[in-house]
Subunit: 413 residues, 2 copies
Amino acid sequence: MADLGRRARAASRRVALASAENKNAALRAMAASIRSRADAILAANAEDLADAKAKGQTSAFIDRLVLDPERLEAIAQAVESIADLPDPVGRVLARFERPNGLKIDRVATPLGVIGVIFESRPNVTADAGALCLKAGNAAILRAGSESFRTSSAIAEAMGEGLERAGLPADAIRLVPTRDRAAVGAMLSGLDGNLDVIVPRGGKSLVARVQEEARVPVFAHLEGLNHVYVHGAADLEMAKSIVLNAKMRRTGVCGSAETLLVDRACADTHLEPLLSMLLDAGCAVRGDEAVQAADSRVTPAEEGDWRTEYLDAIISARIVDGLDAALAHIETYGSHHTDSIVTNDQATAERFLAEVDSAIVLHNASTQFADGGEFGFGAEIGIATGRMHARGPVGVEQLTSFKYRIRGTGQTRP
Amino acid sequence: MADLGRRARAASRRVALASAENKNAALRAMAASIRSRADAILAANAEDLADAKAKGQTSAFIDRLVLDPERLEAIAQAVESIADLPDPVGRVLARFERPNGLKIDRVATPLGVIGVIFESRPNVTADAGALCLKAGNAAILRAGSESFRTSSAIAEAMGEGLERAGLPADAIRLVPTRDRAAVGAMLSGLDGNLDVIVPRGGKSLVARVQEEARVPVFAHLEGLNHVYVHGAADLEMAKSIVLNAKMRRTGVCGSAETLLVDRACADTHLEPLLSMLLDAGCAVRGDEAVQAADSRVTPAEEGDWRTEYLDAIISARIVDGLDAALAHIETYGSHHTDSIVTNDQATAERFLAEVDSAIVLHNASTQFADGGEFGFGAEIGIATGRMHARGPVGVEQLTSFKYRIRGTGQTRP
């Protein structure tokens, strides 16, 4: 692992200085290598699948692991689409000229070496490696052990693409062992050769990384997201947003987990919202007022307000106005994504200003919490920390910056 | 300490939402309180000074610690000048409208609670507290124990100013004990109530914080800065920049520690540069070629290339062209501030692009590494890490951001 870190650091210096054209050529060559090695990748995947089935993995697990020619083509296209993004390195983020004539530019630079620890989704090998490279970084990828053969085959294709473009294969490396000790070595920072870690997977993985990592982490532990239907909400809009926020996909981090209905509109809005959810197959756990509005509602316990269901379940309660909604979200939320539905502009602006979450929305579904929906092209994850990256982490957030100062012989008085 | 953290967190929520006018009123009230409490602050300082002298502290130490009415007025004026800076909170950092009509703003928000650990410089209590507040953050300040009474008196004035403006005094608190265990509590993050730590002081303090902190750190361990006199450098400009970079103030982190002279101009430039430095009272430790150019040069050991002298001493060597200069800086530098002197634009651009330091300069002195010189108004320190803040850390770098999305009922397909 120490050698992997040193080689990644050396490779990071080379890709940091590579031109946009060179990196994009590498990305296109990676996609070509994924296509030309399709048979080998699919064969490796078949072996991983056979093992996973023999171990009795769930059908959901198998579905995430399985590749077919269509999915593999989608992976190759995703890598190509990253080549089409604007290059985030070298952007002038700020420029100022000083009275003494010094011209100071704040310019985007790569972060360095990025570690990505993920579970058994083969596409992450390609997505994460490609995103890191686009931003001029080297990547060390740790795949779930059940997808080890598949991820290895994809990583080899990525390395081949890099070398065909004249860049070092060490810029994207899969940890070459299933040994769990490798994760610990990454969390300790590989002797200073890892600058940031991105965990992608379930809550226990993220919690461990957040707890143990000695380097910065871009991650969210959970998306305990709220939709607050304010007293001045349009009922039809509220129904449409709540249904989409909860039920479009229940397993994504941007799905809503708690519905807050303002007492001011409860008489008119509560029952229609509940019956819509219940009729759509969503279980509702509510406070007493919510239970009284529909007999199918079951009682919410205190723990429900803290639970990210990631399922067709929602907790619901009545709140007395904006301040009570803000207090609930501050107490129980996870600073990920929260939305207000209202036709009152002043209330909306207070919600947008005061809710301390990475993403706050007015009259829109929480399921927009996604780098693609932001126009970032792709994301490596969503972060709820306040340092460096927050919200969807796209290629721009995978850069740092430095100051370039151009003078004509200036000295400091 | 746990209580201090909880109260700072609560106060941070209030100052995060305070208007620019409110925060500026508090800063001006703090300056007024510092002036009105001048007698008490100077009396406290006299007690600290008496103890320090009794303990036999150096005169340099005493000079940093001592306050007089003029210095105290300068402290008050520095706090007022921070009120005059533009408010960094709420700036729209990016704005994009999506094809579905969603309007997405990336808006600057405060970081949260900032811990500042510093040695016995009383002005840091006021400077750091004021900068943190300006950016909407709460601050927990740990002063050097020798300045404890002075810092406490200043912190009380800051708290009085906050309260006069209707903001919580808990937004700027000095750690109320000289107990060294308090530093350990801060490094562990105060139960999640500290978001970032800024150490200000000598290398051993910074090293300990970087080694032990479980929260992000904005700092630089050392400024091992280079001036590279390229073959196409103007001799007079090179002399002026080298003399200023080394000798203007030798104890600041932006001072030059190593002179690299290109072999291409050594015949004409080396001897004049060396005699200028030596005549100015700077000791020169050089490689063989440098020793041969002036008999006053003493031999450089390998360790000299790694030494931040912070004194009137410079190491000097001949390098064979830009690549050798880049390799030397990468091997021995500290990624702080490096400068090239040359009239060749293409070489300068390569140096600016390829040197991986927070600040890189062309034809200007390294001593410009300072937030004030950048126009930031004030800085809390200089960072050499790549995460979040890099270079001078002014009020802008003491903010995070979030996404505010305004819709008209959009749901995600």
